[in-house]
Amino acid sequence: MRVISCYSMKGGVGKTATAVNIAYWAAKSGIKTLLIDLDPQGASSFYFRVKPTKKNWGSKFFKAYKELVQHVKASDYENLDIIPAHLSFRNFDTMLGDYNKRTARLRKILKGMSKEYKLVVLDCPPTIGYLSESVFTASDLIFVPVIPTTLSERTYEQLNQFFKKFNYKRNRLVPFFSMVQMQKVLHKRTMETMRSRYNNFMDTIIPFSIDIENMGEHRAPVDTYARSRPANKAYFSLWKEMIPLIKKS
């Protein structure tokens, strides 16, 4: 089993859109996949139409695998299951503060999932704290959507600094450009400078696309309603590019 995550300190960069579509393609290629929505806002759960459990169970999330597995729900797609978010997830950072070995906790409880799943995808909230550190420890690879603007460039730089400072393996960070508008000079220029600075950017670029924005309307992965559109092809090629990276990790 491999664990991958979609992470960025910034909100609104395309983490959820990526998690949803990548999990979908993984499942569609026959890989038993579990998507865990760690963001209390529950956007991925919303896209898959999965209602959160009524029970206020966030406080038990890091207790044990046995607890966690009870909240698994089947998606509408073969091979893809989901653990939906709950508003109580907003307290994860404080809760983790009470554990010792706190950042290893997530990795430990996810281990039990390997009985059933080949891939776990974590959709993360845009925070940096115990939860995100748990995610860094638990993930074999961390995919980071980067909008090619000056501000995003700075954020990505900060993430690298953080990894360096706290001794996380930087080769687990895999950035890719998201919401790209090729007609914008700034986007083109930023992509060039960032690619020359960091050699680990993925080749695939996710364009800014109305079809991706429309996910909110359709509440389904792009492939189900915009099959032949460039945005769908971009997610598919992103997934294809991820496969060897995940295998190697």
Binding site: K51, Q70, K73, A74, R219
Partner: protein, 501 residues
Amino acid sequence: MTELQAKHWLLPDNKVLRQLESSLKTRFSMQKKPGNKLKYQLQDDYDWHLWHAGYRLFKTAQCEFRLESPKGSICEIAGENARFWWDFPDGEFKNILKRCIKLRALGEICRFEITESTIDLLDTERKTVARIKTTTFFTEDAETPGQQFLSLIPLRGYQNAFNKALELCQAQLNDDAPEPSLDKLLKILGIKLKEKPTNKYGITPSEPCEQAVLQMCKSMFSQACKNEAGVILDTDTEFLHQYRVAIRKARSLINLMKKAFSETTHSQLKTELAALASPTNPLRDLDVFLLDKSYYQSLLPENYAPGLETLFDHIAKERQVAYKRVVTLFKSRAYRQKCKTLEVLFSSAPSFETESSHKPVLTMAKKRTYNRYRKICVLGNEINDETPDADVHELRIECKKLRYLIEFFSELFPEKRISTLAKSLKTLQTILGNFNDYSVQKEFLAAHLAKEKDAEVIAAINGLIAVLHQKQLQERARVCKAFAEFSNTSIATEFEQLFAQ
């Protein structure tokens, strides 16, 4: 957490389905996904080897092959004419085929069509919370009515929805049916499952020997004749092989149980059977050589390849001629008459012309087997690394006779003990058999040498003969040890306990 299980029902008609839909509508939103009619062929070999090994092989109109087993299914795409294991791409699919059907060809068992439609049951978010699936089987001829199953499929984490839907289904439908299964469909199509071949002939220990032997011969002979059609169609090489095996068995049985017949009867049966099989010798020899093509290729260095290729071309042409001869023979009146004669001979009442013919078959079987075993012990003990090849061949033939005796009459003895004995004998036989195969291959090639003028081909043949000779020497060196293992005391005790009287 207990896993929810899908539930299945037999659907009597579409009216029931509509009633069910309207009752489900009171509780769920629904989304219908009608399915296409898909054509399938169930495939297997002549002996249903896949079926008996627990596999079901389906072929779609698009030449997609799907091999299903309780463990899951494997798909493979192959050409329209893929029939043998070697026609498929490398992988697990091919390995399973190779293991199960060996040299057999795949063919159609039956055709049918399936339509799978689903109705998703949705919650207020329009999230699917359970599924209804209808599976309809159609046979190709429209007269046979299709059978329709309805399944309720749970989705993980939606137990309540499933239970509610189950309640509604149970109110409308009769008792659960087991999963819609192919076995049931075959029954509807009127296709009988082919039984695994057994080595039982339905004889009893006290039966008079002649009567039992005739009955066994009759069964062997009819087994042989069942292969004629496959030989004529040239479906695979196994048909001819099995034909010959069955006739050889009948011949051996008659020879081994010679004393049950008068001199004239024995020699008549023997001659008739020999006359039946011998015209197929050339075709079988050529088949065997052609089947081993990749093996022969592996024996010689690259520069012999063109010569070897030409040799195989020549042999393949010769094979076609031999094949046509066999077809002509099988279709001839003379052949049919010979078969008829044998059938009558085997079906007629025993004539009890000899003393042994009355004796209980068990007594005779024990005596023959034990004598044969002791003869083998004498022969085998005389063999050392210098003994002439002819003696080794004699040992091989005696072992083969012993094996036949053990197998023919196995139903008169405890099954487990017999199969253990047969296994230990088989180990010795494999080495003796290989030793003999190299002789046969060398002879085949030497005989063919006279027909070739091409220098490259002649070089390839001589190369092969040299390699085969070396291999034969290696195999010869293993004979003494193998015999020593077979002649150990525990096997001797077993033979004595089972067969001495």
